[in-house]
Symmetry: C2
Subunit: 305 residues, 2 copies
DNA sequence: TTAAGTTGATAATTATTTGTTATGGTTGGC
DNA sequence: GCCAACCATAACAAATAATTATCAACTTAA
């Protein structure tokens, strides 16, 4: 490791030295004395470990390395200016937005968000599919900026806002083909599990406990398969290997709907979606843009269905 | 203007602080004391004129601005590393090469040099067409790295190397169509001038003084037009508006050769091409690459014709 | 709840760095 | 050849940075 770091002050001096071609004029321009300029150049040359100018009598030529350093100095200047601009301006259409949500939501939302990114190419969207608890953790740790979860978290740690609803459906293989589904059917088939399966299922049972699934516990159901890729969850179901629970939106996009059967529950199981942000964090303007886009989506889909 | 400049040392501290999440650990890692870390962060925040971390009891969260500055720090780190690499390595296939030569040479050489750039995309070629004297000036001032000129300049100021030859030709409108051209013809037509026309013409007269152009002086010839774009010089000649002198290579590429007539002089007028570099400047390796390419071109064209 | 042990902020002091003045050696113009 | 301009070096003063010492707030464990 080299002891010296390149000091931007030296770079500024070097830059004006190259521009003016005179040590004395550089000193004047930068409101410093001539020996100061000499010293800055010496320091910079030490830090770069090479000659930046070739001193020839009274004149000097910029060396090859000097040119590179000059270029670097210009670039640095520019970068810092850009940074300063970024620091003060809160551009609603530029910057990175990191969102975490369930796989099924990601499937729905990412295309919408990419539309937004197409309109504003400076707006970078990063969507991560994760189970509820992980979303909360990552929001808390600052690994993502906003999360969408299905139950209201600790209000001491998060700022929460409701943004939409999702209907949960029980999906079985089409081969089952029953008018009514009993607990024995589920126990026989087994669950095709996924990151949110247990949570969804417990909601389902809770709201339908007095119909066909009397007193069924999630822990009673054997797991007959598992996959954490939203697009593939229904594959084993279509093959008759088990059942699962998923939001309606995720089922609608399945490529072979004739091979699965969606069970119509007595009472619809609706899950509320909450936008969560780490408590006390005031997000920059671009998150409003994204948030508005999300809300537009959910308003449209609820009024549309 | 903001008083404080962003110090890379503060940035390094900030970066490790964000990475570790602890002031104390940062201090250990950077072989400094804990108050030093605190001070660096404070300084950096002052320089950025905004909070970079949000102190919450013992923990802290990186603010939006903090993220930007962190990103900036990483970028800076990378840049400096790249610079240091560039400073030590003398890559024969990367960097900028600025060449100045006559317009006709540029016409010939630039495509060849672009071939080189296609092979090595890091090698940036900048070719500038200029008259002889300007080339020498710019080489001297360091505005271009190498020049190609047609007469040997002051050896105290330049390092010179011969790299090739060019035949000069007198070009007249095809309508003239004479077996022999006399001084009166030239005086009547007038010269279509271009940056090197006077120089070329004086060479021509000097070597053919005892044939048809007895004692003709360049200053005697009226100028009937002028253009500094090599590709367009022959247009007025083709239209019968005047004559000019050009290197053979430039004439060969004219789109309407039937409208012009190249005068066959008694003694061929050959001009020697010299590669010039500012005296004492030792060029980096990439100039060897370019120089070799140039030499290959001239060797090929002389052996080929 | 309290006591011990961390952790980060602040103040005071010391060390280092930076910038200035003073000075001298070359160079180039007249 | 002399004078003025220019840059380098040295010595010193000013400013800055790092350290030690200390304190307050929180965490953990008894």
């Amino acid at each position: 490791m080299v002891g010296l770091m390149i000091n931007p002050l030296w770079l500024r001096t070097f830059r004006t030295l190259v521009d003016t071609g005179h040590f004395t004029k550089t000193a004047e321009k930068l409101f410093m004395t001539q020996p100061g300029v000499s010293q800055h150049i010496t320091k910079l040359e030490d830090a770069c470990d090479c000659a930046l100018i070739k001193r020839d009598k009274k004149r000097f030529d910029v060396t090859e390395q000097g040119r590179l350093v000059y270029q670097y100095a210009c670039q640095l200047d520019k970068s810092e200016e850009v940074l300063r601009e970024q620091l003060v301006s809160d551009d609603p259409y530029a910057g990175k937005c990191r969102l975490a949500c369930s796989g099924s939501l990601a499937l729905m939302l990412y295309p919408k968000l990419l539309d937004l990114q197409c309109q504003h190419s400076q707006l970078i969207l990063e969507v991560k599919a994760a189970p509820n608890q992980q979303i909360l953790n990552e929001v808390q740790q600052g690994k993502v900026d906003i999360g969408i979860v299905t139950h209201i978290p600790n209000p001491a740690l998060f700022d929460v806002e409701t943004i939409g609803h999702e209907q949960l459906c029980l999906v079985l293989p089409a081969t089952v083909n029953l008018a009514k589904v009993y607990r024995s059917d589920l126990l026989e088939l087994g669950l095709i599990s996924h990151p949110d399966a247990e949570h969804y299922l417990s909601l389902f049972f809770a709201q339908n406990s007095e119909t066909c699934f009397d007193e069924l516990l999630v822990s009673d159901i054997p797991v007959s398969g598992s996959i954490n890729q939203i697009g593939q969850i229904l594959e084993p179901v279509a093959k008759g290997l088990g059942f699962t629970v998923l939001p309606k939106s995720a089922i609608d996009s399945f490529h072979a709907p004739e091979k699965i059967m969606v069970f119509e529950a007595k009472t619809q199981v609706i899950e509320t979606l909450h936008l969560v942000v780490k408590k006390g964090r005031n997000l920059p303007a671009r998150f409003d843009t994204v948030s508005r886009k999300l809300q537009a989506h959910f308003n449209m889909s609820t009024s549309g269905s």
